[in-house]
């Protein structure tokens, strides 16, 4: 008797905010799909950033010759880290998009799912933010140079390469923003559940 009435009550309490909750879950799933797209685009743009230029060089026997020199993202560990971080985030976002779609079909026992999402979203946010910072720091020196330590800028020579790297960094920044919104959504859903039941 007691459990039956309690179920009835909880059903009444759930009915009103169900629409809102469904909307929340849809936004969550849509953002995760968007995150997949952004990370895939970032990886693609970074991988295709190779540029070859002919540079004048003076060799002892041959005299002045034109030597082709590559600019690749593998030349800097920061860009390799960015690639690894974006790949990991891409995999995570695929898995979490599937999980989010599955859990939106049965929103009853989703508090644990929300908590798990919040944990992993924050972790992914940390990884993406540090990778963005690292790549951005190196790319800034590549763009402006640093005369104190005599690190010459390279973006005046390798313009396409720099545009690709800049695009990848901008996309990873977008991924970080999306992840922070996702984190906010998970926490907010947990909190609104709590407010509905107590607080």
């Amino acid at each position: 008797m007691g459990s039956a009435t309690a179920a009835e009550v909880s059903e009444v309490a759930e009915r009103a905010p169900r629409e809102k909750k469904r909307g929340c879950f849809l936004a969550d799933a849509a953002l995760r799909v968007l995150l997949v797209a952004v990370t895939v685009a970032s990886v693609a743009v970074l991988v295709t950033s190779k540029q070859t230029k002919l540079v004048q060089a003076t060799l002892p026997v041959l005299g002045t010759v034109m030597v082709p020199i590559d600019a690749k993202f593998t030349h800097s560990p920061a860009f390799i880290y960015l690639l690894a971080a974006m790949s990991v985030t891409c995999l995570y976002s695929i898995v979490s998009a599937l999980a989010s779609l599955l859990s939106s079909c049965k929103p009853a026992g989703s508090a644990a799912a929300l908590l798990t999402f919040a944990y992993f979203d924050v972790l992914a946010l940390g990884i993406v933010a540090s990778a963005t910072g690292a790549a951005g720091g190196v790319a800034y020196i590549g763009l402006k140079g640093n005369k104190h330590v005599r690190w010459e800028k390279i973006c005046n020579n390798y313009d396409t390469f720099c545009q690709h790297v800049g695009g990848a960094i901008a996309l990873s920044l977008a991924a970080a923003v999306i992840l922070s919104i996702l984190c906010h959504l998970s926490i907010f859903a947990l909190y609104s559940k709590l407010r509905r039941s107590s607080c």
Binding site: S3, T5, A6, E8, V9, S10, V12, A13, A71, H75, S76, P77, A78, Y81, A111, A112, L114, L115, Y119, V122, L123, L125, G126, V128, A129, S130, A131, T132, G133, A134, A135, G136, G137, V138, Y140, I141, G142, K144, N146, H148, V149, R150, W151, E152, I154, A176, S180, C183, H184, S186, I187, F188, L190, Y191, K193, L194, R195, S197, S198, C199
Partner: protein, 207 residues
């Protein structure tokens, strides 16, 4: 209809006493963990900011000018202001340590008043601040690695073999600041799991 509108009230009356006790107990336990993590975040980031902010090293080299002339003195100072990444690192650490102090004060005030809404806001801002600090750490570490090893592809030569003390102090600051951001990460995880625990408990009490 009557039944439905009445029942939640009676359940509230039954549930309130035990639930409040449980929540206040739960808050007190989390209280320590959150306060300690916030304090650690504050200390670690302020140490990171101070270590880089006061990081400078001056070295003098003697250059042979000629057979009859006295040697020339060449004095070079390494400062963090020369590298924009390091400036970003110092500013980010200063902002985060200010945030840690302010949020600790807010947290203590809110837990004394028993406000629930503030903890939700704090979790989200904690996550944002953690991302900000980690991006500064990543940038400083990436540029520091180029300073230590150089990059032969880009013709960026290493500089740390000349300024050992400067570089070691910078590396220590980056490590401390990264530990600070790990504290913030744990803080977010702790407060989220606490929210979940409260939710579970209130469900148990309600049913």
């Amino acid at each position: 209809m009557e039944n439905n509108s009445k029942l939640p009230k009676s359940m509230d009356v039954v549930g309130t006493g035990t639930m409040e006790a449980a929540i206040s107990k739960g808050q007190r336990r989390v209280h320590h963990g959150e306060v300690v993590l916030r304090l650690m975040g504050f200390v670690l980031t302020i140490m990171g900011a101070i270590l880089v902010g006061f990081d400078r090293q001056t070295r003098t080299w003697l250059l042979e000018a000629g057979a009859n002339l006295p040697p020339l003195e060449l004095q070079i100072t390494a400062k963090y202001q020369y590298m924009s990444t390091m400036v970003f690192f110092v500013i980010a650490n200063a902002i985060v340590c200010t945030y840690a102090a302010v949020s600790l004060a807010f947290y203590l005030m809110a837990s004394r008043d028993g406000k629930c809404s503030l903890s939700h806001v704090l979790i989200v801002t904690d996550a944002l601040i953690m991302g900000f600090l980690l991006s500064a750490d990543g940038a400083a570490a990436a540029v520091g690695i180029i300073g230590r090893d150089g990059n032969s592809h880009l013709q960026w030569h290493r500089v740390c073999y000349m300024f050992n003390k400067f570089c070691n102090q910078g590396a220590a600051a980056v490590v401390l600041s990264t530990l600070g951001s790990v504290c913030l990460l744990l803080l977010v995880a702790l407060s989220a799991s606490n929210l979940h625990k409260k939710l579970n408990h209130s469900h148990v009490v309600a049913t």
